[in-house]
Amino acid sequence: MTRYVTGRLAQMVIVLFIVSLLIFFGVRITPTDPIASIAKGKQMSAETIAALKAEYYLDRPLTEQYAIWMKGMILGDLGKSYQYRERVTVLLAGRIGTSVQLVFMSSILIFLLGIPLGIISASRKNTMTDQSLTIASLVLVSSPSFFTGMILMLLFTLVIPIFPTFGIGSGFVDNIRYLALPAISLAAVLLALTMRMTRSNMVEQLSSGYVQMATAKGLTRRQVVYKHALRNSSIPILTVSSLQIAGMLSGSVMVETVFALNGIGSLLASSVNKGDYPVTQSITLMMVVVFMTFNLIVDIMYGVIDPRIRLGGGRKHEA
């Protein structure tokens, strides 16, 4: 197991290197002018511009700029933001809490609603319950998060004003209240997808031989569904839902913008617009790291759940 994880970590380093190149050059292909972002529209003399370029290493060749960025990354220095003229680490530290809390709340919604509803749908296949849930999930899947967000805002400002529609509030409990609507709009599509995926997987498992055997043993329906079938569905469910959670960081760009939240997502959006290279690079790379870490955790979980993977079983049969 240790060997496997070490191998995977080494792989991650290689992938990160390649991705960092893509990000670095990708950001610089965009038609934005970093100096304009620093100047914020003010007129500047040629000397000032030269001085600024020197301060942000923009006068160096690209390869050297890349080397400086990499060296900084390794030493924990993400560079300095052009638009805020502040260290990126400080900037991120002030905003990451909001995004993490938002993603966390959405994840809870996905796990506590998406998966259980999928299971209920599967174990009552083709009943009214199943069909209503199917229709609801289709509606959710086909409405993008910014649209859901705006509908929720309208609903809760005009009709039942119980949730605040923008800002973050102060204190943990207040945060939850403020972040409720953004979390719902961020989770909606993914929740519906998780539910559909859970349903189709559970339907498949519930029609398999070992489920019949478990029933023939006299186990209760609850034991058959939650102990036997769910365990066998958990690998695909876990894979998809954890990748969705990792992907929510990028989904938060839209939602944070709609709800005017000061998180990582809205920071990324403005950095891309303003040509703020260091911030854009850092956040993008951070998202990649999060995504890869989730992937690794899921792969380790496979072994925990499935003895055939853990023990390297030769004969693999369809469950």
């Binding site: 083709n126 009943t127 398999s208 031989g209 070992y210 019949q212 055997m213 478990a214 029933t215 023939a216 043993k217 006299g218 186990l219 209760t220 329906r221 034991q223 036997h228 365990r231 066998n232 759940i305 499935d306 003895p307 055939r308 023990l311 079983g313 030769g314 004969r315 693999k316 049969h317 369809e318 469950a319």
Partner: protein, 334 residues
């Protein structure tokens, strides 16, 4: 002798995506205590559906069942799902055809057996484990302690079928239903599994409903045999009576098509045609279209199980308008 399971007038209709099918049509079947009862027929004749109906394994919403399944004084068809859960595994065990599919790939072999003890007797984990270890040895899985902790993928098909048998008999049920228990296994393993089943049957006084398409297995294992065709019981009686003197034309054709060693070099006898579709509705005998000797009545009136020839065995019943002992020329002239 007293009846343990008494099925009467059992009809099953199942809603499928292709329409309503009718795989079991007015079946009567009696299983005596401690007897091995073979249920023989071609694929799709309704044997497995009958077995699954006894245990109520069909999804209730999609199935319409008529008739009675009397077991230990109760009509199983009238029981609620909760009541059936207490009968399955506890009073009636089930052995499935494919042991690889029947065991959960993610659970330890031992835990899958122990589940029966914890579920039906409320045993503690330790007590259930102790009973399981004894049971593993009894069905020939050794060393039990080490095998307990292994997973299905570490077992061969034959060993897995022993596990399935262990699960079926764990709670000491008086009746075990074995649905083609050796069909998915290698020929060399089949005999071992059948021997084990036979030993257990004698030792525990089990009644077995053995579903198979193989008369060889019937002649080795069973006391009583019933022949099924297109959802109907065509003939039933003591094994020797039926095998030596089949009364029903279908049973006879089926028994005649068993390849025998003496017949080496001769062409194998087959029954021309295929069984009717399960969707079809027909009057008369379902075998009439394939039967060598039919009369008008065969196509218009369904034959009932009757004691046609008491000379060929007590409790020997067949459903045939023109049983095999009838003078054939007379019939053809009809």
């Amino acid at each position: 002798m007293s009846a343990l399971l008494e099925i009467s007038g059992l009809s099953v209709e199942i809603m499928t995506t292709r329409g309503l099918i009718n795989p079991v049509r007015e079946v009567d079947l009696t299983i005596e205590k401690g007897m091995a009862h073979g249920l023989v027929g071609e694929s799709g004749c309704g044997k497995s559906v009958t077995a699954r109906t006894i245990l109520g394994l069909h999804e209730r919403r999609l199935v319409r069942v008529k008739g009675k399944v009397m077991f230990e004084g109760k009509d199983l068809l009238s029981l609620s799902e909760k009541e059936m859960e207490k009968i399955r595994g506890r009073r009636i065990g089930m052995i499935f055809q494919d042991p690889v599919a029947a065991l959960n790939p993610l659970f330890k072999i031992g835990d899958q057996i122990a589940e029966v003890f914890t579920r039906h007797f409320g045993d503690s984990r330790a007590a259930a484990k102790k009973k399981t270890l004894e049971l593993l040895e009894r069905v020939g899985i050794m060393p039990a302690e080490a095998r307990y902790n292994q997973y299905p993928f570490e077992f061969s098909g034959g060993m897995l079928q022993r596990v399935v048998i262990a699960i079926a008999i764990a709670a000491g049920p008086p009746l075990v239903i074995a649905d083609e228990p050796t069909t998915a296994l290698d020929v060399t393993i089949q005999a071992q599994i059948l021997d084990l089943l036979q030993e257990l049957q004698r030792e525990l006084g089990l009644a077995i409903l053995l579903i198979t398409h193989n008369f060889g297995i019937v002649s080795e294992m069973c006391d009583v045999v019933s022949v099924m065709y297109a959802g109907m019981i065509m003939e039933t009686g003591n094994k020797n009576d039926v095998l030596l003197n089949p009364l029903n034309r279908y049973s006879k054709a089926l028994i005649d098509s068993i390849p025998s060693r003496g017949a080496a070099g001769q062409a194998m006898r087959t029954i021309p045609g295929t069984p009717p579709e399960l969707f079809d509705h027909y009057e008369g005998c379902p075998f009439a279209p394939r039967c060598e000797t039919t009369m008008g009545i065969c196509r218009s009136k369904r034959p009932q199980l009757e004691a046609l020839a008491p000379a060929y065995g007590e409790r020997h019943f067949a459903a045939c308008h023109l049983p095999t002992f009838t003078f054939e020329k007379e019939a053809i002239g009809d």
